[in-house]
């Protein structure tokens, strides 16, 4: 058997090897000049429960609209087609992974951590006035997806990495690196590439652990890094880590942020998280 690599783990995964078909249908419809918002709304309507969930998100603390948004077509107009496509993808991927079982990791806690990182990434992006803040939401949401794949497909290696981290007081990503020669961010990167997500998301996930040592500066990686540090540091959910990750001081410098900004970022994260967590991770009720 060939030695394990991040790419081989992603290529052989049986969990979520490819993206939901609905994502490609939306992609094709968005790119087609002939399609209308109603066409997009119809595609979303084909997936049971999705439209209801998206409407709840559109009316949540993530957005500040003057009145309620009652139809998908209206949500597409106000929030944007790309943005809604990314939210739909987030919802569908969480749905699929929620059914998995891993002995060492609670799925609910894992996605709580991912969701908090996603919200934090979006909050930071909006603070920095980056365009298309949903891109950052998705990169934040998927930042540790490589670990999820490792835990579901290779539970024996996952257990070993946890024991190693615990015994030596290591960060779990350092233990992964010692054990495998690469860490979960590399697996996540390989998986996102396999899913054909834009390079921006892939790079953001790949370099989120230490953005300063990335070959080229990636603002997305810096944002996801800081978002993850906030979410882990404030213990939103649990994704296997016993400690907050190391803060990369270069990431804050790149983003032009300083210590005094953290309080307002954390407050905004808390506010949105309390509202959105039950919508995305609550029991499925349509």
């Amino acid at each position: 058997m060939a030695p394990l690599s991040a790419e081989s783990i992603a290529a052989n995964t049986t969990t979520v090897a490819s993206l939901p078909e609905l994502h490609q249908q939306l992609e094709a419809a968005i790119l087609s000049p002939a399609s209308t918002l109603d066409d997009l709304a119809r595609i979303i309507g084909n997936e049971p429960g999705l439209a209801a969930r998206l409407l709840k998100l559109a009316n949540s603390a993530l957005y500040r609209h003057s009145g309620p948004i009652e139809t998908i077509t209206r949500a597409l107009t106000l929030i944007g087609t790309r943005q809604l496509q990314e939210l739909a993808l987030a919802t569908l991927v969480i749905e699929r992974f929620r059914l998995l079982e891993t002995p060492q990791l609670s799925m609910r806690e894992f996605w709580r951590n991912a969701l908090a990182t996603a919200i934090a990434a979006r909050v930071i992006a909006i603070h920095l006035r980056e365009r298309d803040s949903e891109r950052f939401f998705l990169a934040g949401l998927f930042h540790k997806i490589g670990r999820l794949v490792l835990f579901t497909d290779h539970p024996e290696l996952a257990t070993q990495s946890l024991i190693q981290a615990q015994q030596a007081g290591l960060l779990l990503s350092d233990a992964e690196e010692q054990l495998l020669g690469f860490h979960h961010a590399e697996i996540g990167h390989a998986l996102l590439k396999q899913w054909n997500l834009p390079a921006l998301h892939c790079e953001g996930v790949r370099h989120h652990i230490a953005p300063s040592i990335a070959p080229t500066t990636s603002v997305v990686a810096c944002i996801v890094h800081l978002a993850n540090w906030l979410a882990d540091g404030a213990a939103f959910g649990h994704a296997g880590d016993h400690f907050a990750p190391r803060l990369d001081p270069g990431a804050l410098r790149t983003l032009g942020l300083c210590a005094a900004t953290l309080e307002s970022l954390l407050n905004e994260l808390e506010r949105q998280y309390q509202d959105v967590e039950p919508l995305l991770l609550g029991e499925t009720d349509g």
Partner: protein, 115 residues
């Protein structure tokens, strides 16, 4: 020199640096004294922090707890951030915020307003 979150800035404080927007345009010049109107304007411009005279002394601290509880919370926070540089101002600030958060989660903050 330390900056202060706009939430904690108050009328009467004197700003030390020019406050500029993203394009480098000066919104408020150095040395001017904040009042309600200027604070409101700064918030509406999306400014989140200001450098004011004596900010260090004005920065909010940790919540006050009895010694045993305080030590317990401090231990949790220090353990959680053991892979972080304690001398980094961002780490220091985050530890303060997390200290208050953990104290609240453990139910040590009596009489604090619930969300």
């Amino acid at each position: 020199m330390q900056s202060l979150s706009i939430q904690h800035a108050q009328p009467g404080m004197r700003i030390i640096n020019d406050i500029k927007d993203g394009n480098g345009r000066i919104l408020l010049p150095a040395d001017c004294t904040l009042d309600e109107r200027k604070l409101k304007a700064l918030r509406s411009w999306g400014i989140t922090e200001v450098v004011v005279d004596g900010a260090e002394a004005l920065r909010p601290g940790k919540v006050e707890l009895p010694e045993a509880q305080s030590l317990q919370v401090e231990a949790i926070v220090c353990e959680r951030f053991r892979h972080n540089d304690p001398a980094d101002p961002a780490v220091e600030e985050m530890k303060r915020l997390v200290f208050n958060r953990v104290a609240k989660q453990l139910g040590y903050l009596h009489g604090t307003a619930q969300r």
